[in-house]
């Protein structure tokens, strides 16, 4: 494929994304875009561990919640800027991921996935019962009236838009770097055949932990962003199993183990969720969710490799 063309296309896409909030000044379209960026970031982060290293986690809400809770607790108790809280959240998520990974990576395949669900449930239950961090009532982030950039609170969604876009670009850049690095090859070797990778002398456990650390850190950044965007968090919104599954679903639908798959998945699923909610919601019978679920099933039956597989097949046919 001619490289300059892809590069130009990327620049044009980036320019369009940067000018989007200038054209669409209403909050709603900006909100949809922000959520696409946020979920794409989360799915991209998940993809590092699951797509490249082959370890399907269904407990990533834990890292999202870690990011959200860490920055929120720090701003409430110490008045620390959420920007620093964001980094602290990522650091704590990395530490937590290593503690979780140590026992859980002894399991393989489905058993690993099941264990991550269990960890997610344990953490959520724990947070519901931990009163110091709000328990089941959750935490409000105190409204900042100074308007300082350090407070990470903005009246205008435009600023959130650019921050979310920045997070997404960071996640994509990290994935790209890993994809092309030696570490990325070790990840893929582990994904394709863990025993063969071990027999070649690749320390499998160590590289799984690394993939988990990167994935957890990026997910936690998204968690802090979410907390500052919504300004309220509770275990039901930042630690549910449904979030872990949604992250997985987005990546799988877009195409796991590919750079752009998670972004494509988010760009389809988030608006799809919105559309079914707007046009079919409000009946009180959850028809929107039925249709939403049905459409997901259609996509996975027609294109099990994800949208990226479809795109790659098309390219092979034309090229």
């Amino acid at each position: 494929m001619p490289r300059p063309l892809t590069f130009t296309a990327g620049l044009v896409a980036l320019a369009l994304l940067l000018t989007f909030p200038l054209v669409f000044t209403l909050p709603y379209p900006r909100d949809v875009m922000i959520r696409i960026f946020l979920y794409a970031t989360l799915a991209t982060a998940w993809n590092v561990l699951a797509g490249y290293c082959g370890q399907i986690s269904l407990g990533h809400a834990v890292f999202f919640g870690t990011g959200a809770y860490t920055s929120t607790v720090l701003v409430k108790s110490l008045g620390l800027t959420p920007w620093a809280g964001m980094l602290a959240g990522a650091a704590l998520a990395v530490a937590l991921s290593q503690v979780i990974g140590y026992p859980v990576f002894r399991l393989r395949g489905h058993y690993f996935a099941i264990a991550t669900i269990a960890v997610g449930e344990i953490v959520q239950t724990f947070m519901i019962n931990w009163d110091w961090v709000g328990g089941a009532r959750g935490l409000f982030i105190p409204i900042d009236r100074t308007g300082s950039l350090l407070a990470f609170q903005f009246r205008d969604k435009q600023v959130y838009y650019y921050i979310a876009l920045g997070l997404l670009l960071l996640a994509l850049w990290v994935t790209r770097r890993i994809e092309r690095s030696r570490t990325g090859y070790y990840f893929r070797a582990i994904r394709e055949d863990q025993d063969a990778a071990a027999s070649l002398g690749i320390p499998v456990a160590r590289y799984k932990q690394r993939a988990m650390a990167v994935s957890a850190a990026l997910t936690a950044l998204g968690g802090t962003f979410y907390a500052q965007y919504i300004l309220f968090i509770d275990p039901e919104s930042v630690l549910p199993l449904s979030l872990s599954i949604l992250i997985c679903l987005i990546a799988v639908l877009g195409g796991v183990g590919t750079l752009w798959g998670p972004l494509i998945g988010a760009a389809i699923l988030v608006p799809l969720g919105e559309a079914t909610r707007i046009y079919l919601g409000g009946t009180g019978k959850a028809i929107d969710l039925l249709i939403y679920g049905f459409l997901i099933m259609v996509i996975s039956v027609v294109q099990p490799g994800g949208i990226m597989a479809l795109a790659q097949r098309g390219r092979r046919r034309t090229g």
């Binding site: 090859y185 070790y186 893929r188 070797a189 394709e192 055949d193 025993d195 063969a196 990778a197 071990a198 027999s199 070649l200 002398g201 690749i202 320390p203 499998v204």
Partner: protein, 244 residues
């Protein structure tokens, strides 16, 4: 090379007991390969050949027993450390990474720092051994023929620059002509590069023709051991493999 001209012990195991859960696979198995030797591990299906090899390379932990590589005890080391000490293991059924290219598969064999530093040099050496692989370098490994895949698997093992190469069933499912090629390469690896070779094979004649010495496993016990010629003549071998 005659057995007398061989060097000291390359790999030795004593009294290995291996269990999967409560089920014992190996019973008090001892094994030895001298430097520069070609050793065959023989035995019927389910006799524990692969388990023995997996235990030697650290993929499976023994319940009890000792394993030494040269003068280092390795029974409690993880596999990646063992590879770094010069023991490479080519797994049964080749276990390539099917969606990576031939070249990428080979390069992944050079993990440990010593091998990584001399990667290009080793790669040239491996490609000289298997000229065919150079032509296929950008092809996905999963699309190769069985014989080619076995060459990649052996090549990938050699990329670790081992002093001892273990190959689990190198001839499994291959055409007779390809078997000859692989056998020649394994012999060349041993003679020209001085690498100790340990391999598993079901075909007694073929295995003992290639090997200096052989071990025969039956139901998890090493029941017979000796120079190839002695084993070929042994009535016990005939009993186990031919049912006489």
């Amino acid at each position: 090379m005659s057995a007398d001209a061989l060097g000291g012990t390359a790999l030795e195991a004593r009294g290995l007991d291996v269990l999967y859960g409560d089920y014992q696979i190996l019973w008090d198995v001892s094994f030895r390969a001298r430097r520069g030797e070609v050793v065959a591990i023989l035995g019927p299906n389910g006799s524990g050949k692969s388990t023995l090899m997996n235990t030697l390379s650290g993929l499976v932990r023994a319940r009890s027993g000792e394993i030494s590589l040269g003068d280092r005890r390795i029974e409690s080391l993880p596999p990646h450390k063992i590879v770094g000490l010069g023991l490479a293991h080519v797994l049964e059924r080749r276990r390539l990474f099917p969606y990576l290219t031939v070249r990428q598969n080979l390069l992944l064999g050079a993990y440990h720092p010593g091998a990584r530093a001399r990667r290009e040099e080793t790669l040239a050496d491996v490609e000289a051994l298997f000229p065919h692989l150079r032509e296929r370098q950008t092809q996905m490994a999963g699309t190769l023929s069985g014989g080619e895949q076995q060459m990649v698997a052996i090549g990938r093992g050699l990329m670790a620059r081992p002093a001892l190469l273990m190959v689990d069933e190198p001839f499994l499912g291959l055409a007779p002509r390809v078997i000859e090629q692989i056998a020649e390469v394994l012999t060349a690896i041993n003679r020209e590069r001085g690498i100790t070779v340990v391999f598993i094979e079901q075909n007694v004649e073929l295995a003992l023709r290639m090997a200096h010495r052989g071990y025969i496993l039956e139901s998890g016990r090493a029941i017979l051991e000796g120079p190839s010629a002695d084993l070929l003549a042994s009535s016990e071998v005939k009993r186990i493999f031919l049912g006489h």
